[in-house]
């Protein structure tokens, strides 16, 4: 368990410069997520049209892990079909060792499916922080299911 593995540069970059913060002109769904154990918060607006997540806006506050994960997620899901988003969510949760395992990833090469998000795999070794990494994803799921 090395802290250097947890606090990768790309994570700190997303923490300090979170992507997709701009409010959406016409969101079609919205959700607020909250980690009662630590107080982290994520709020998500999405615009979905024709089965595609065309735009997303993320805001919130919390630790580097929760904020960076949500920021990377926002990048990763934009422009994807809802089916692709669903698969990606499953794959991310698989990497974290949570979820139903329906969307496995190659544990040796998570980057092959998850790209930048691979940087978060160090979180798995810090069990308390898994919920932080997962917060954005759970909030997104909620937004999409409230649609």
């Amino acid at each position: 368990m090395s802290l250097e593995e947890l606090y990768r540069e790309v994570i700190l970059d997303h923490y300090r410069n979170p992507r997709r913060r701009d409010a959406l002109a016409a969101p079609t769904a919205h959700a607020e997520g909250h980690n009662p154990l630590c107080g982290d918060e994520i709020t998500i607006d999405v615009a979905v049209s024709d089965g595609t997540l065309t735009e997303i806006a993320v805001s919130g506050q919390g630790c580097s892990i929760s904020q960076a994960s949500a920021s990377m997620m926002a990048e990763a899901v934009t422009g994807k079909t809802l089916e692709e988003v669903d698969t990606l969510t499953g794959q991310f949760k698989s990497m974290m060792g949570i979820g139903d395992g329906a969307d496995p990833i190659d544990p040796e090469r998570p980057g092959a499916t998850l790209g930048d998000l691979e940087a978060l795999q160090g979180v798995k070794k810090f069990p308390v922080r898994i919920k932080c990494a997962d917060l954005g994803w759970t909030t997104l799921e909620e937004a999409l299911s409230s649609d």
Partner: protein
Amino acid sequence: MADLRHLRQDFPILDRTVNGKRLVYLDSAATTQKPRSVIEAIDHYYRTSNANVHRGAYTLSVEATEAYENARAKVADFIGATDSDELVFTRGTTTGINFVAYGWGLNHLTEGDRIVLTGMEHHSNIVPWQLVARHTGAELAYLPINEDYEVSLDDLDTVVNSRTKIVALSGMSNVTGAFGPVAAVSAAARSVGAITVVDAAQAVPHAPLDVALLGVDFLAFSGHKMLGPTGTGGLWGRRDRLEEMEPTEGGGEMISDVGLYESTWAPIPHKFEAGTPNIAGAVGLGAAVDYLSKVGMSEVRSHERALTKYGIEQLSAVPHLTIHGPADLDNRGGVISFQLADVHPHDIATILDQEGVAVRAGHHCAKPLMRSLGVPATARASFYLYNTPEDVDALVAALHHALELFGVS
């Protein structure tokens, strides 16, 4: 600094390592570690005298009852209560305050009455009053904190107005360490005929305290924050206040008579102790109080005062570190909340933990106070009699590592 280093050997957990490092426990404001004497008192109780208390005519039950009631006498004595009937055993501060809110508040408040709180309260001293205010139509009003992190008394006379029935405040903030202005506020309360309720979760464990001199009506504290077992605490109340208070739990032991449709209550304190109490917990709390008394509460206070001084000095020398709390050591206890550059408190806690240093991160159950401080969370180091300057040094070293990891210089 009162050197209490020799006490460390009484706390078995301090021998353990965390992530390969010596455990540096700096979260005593959340819960304290337990000396061997407390752990053994519980163990001994279960091995030799365990039985249900009261109504038992056999030896074991008499022994258990004596152990339980002796613990009550010890704890009452520890806080300066001359009458041990005034000490109700509870599960902790939260239960104690809820008992007063529901048991005294519900039947003394009416629409338009006022409950005054302060801007530095723990959720335990906010939420019960919100609930009771909703039930009764009473309103809440707050004494805000000022730029020195202290409760402002500027508007005391207008906030504590003639409709005020209850004033509830903390003896010491678990976030900033600031002492609450108990004397001034309770005087104001008395002058309008209101009662004063003290959240003494952080006050009782860390300094001498004498309820007979405080001039307040109720005072709640937690056993597990003063070396005692989890699930223990005390609610002290002036006899007449306890007598005019309704029980909030009904059941065995708290009754005088039970009919099918009506019942009458036992005298205080049993009126408030429905059901089988946490007997082993009370016995452990009695042992905790023995331990603290032997050390001496003035010693505890002066040790922590010195450690806080050292802690503030050392932390202030860490770059990009801001402390949220009063500077005046005479007006604060051993709790230091801080921010470190843009490193989120949870990240601080994770990083420190790798060095064996345990600090708490979050809103510390004081969200309204966090809003006043303008931050969603802080990291917090808090001291007790077993902490040393080396613990502060370990904290400071780990904070430097956090700055490195986050590339802040």
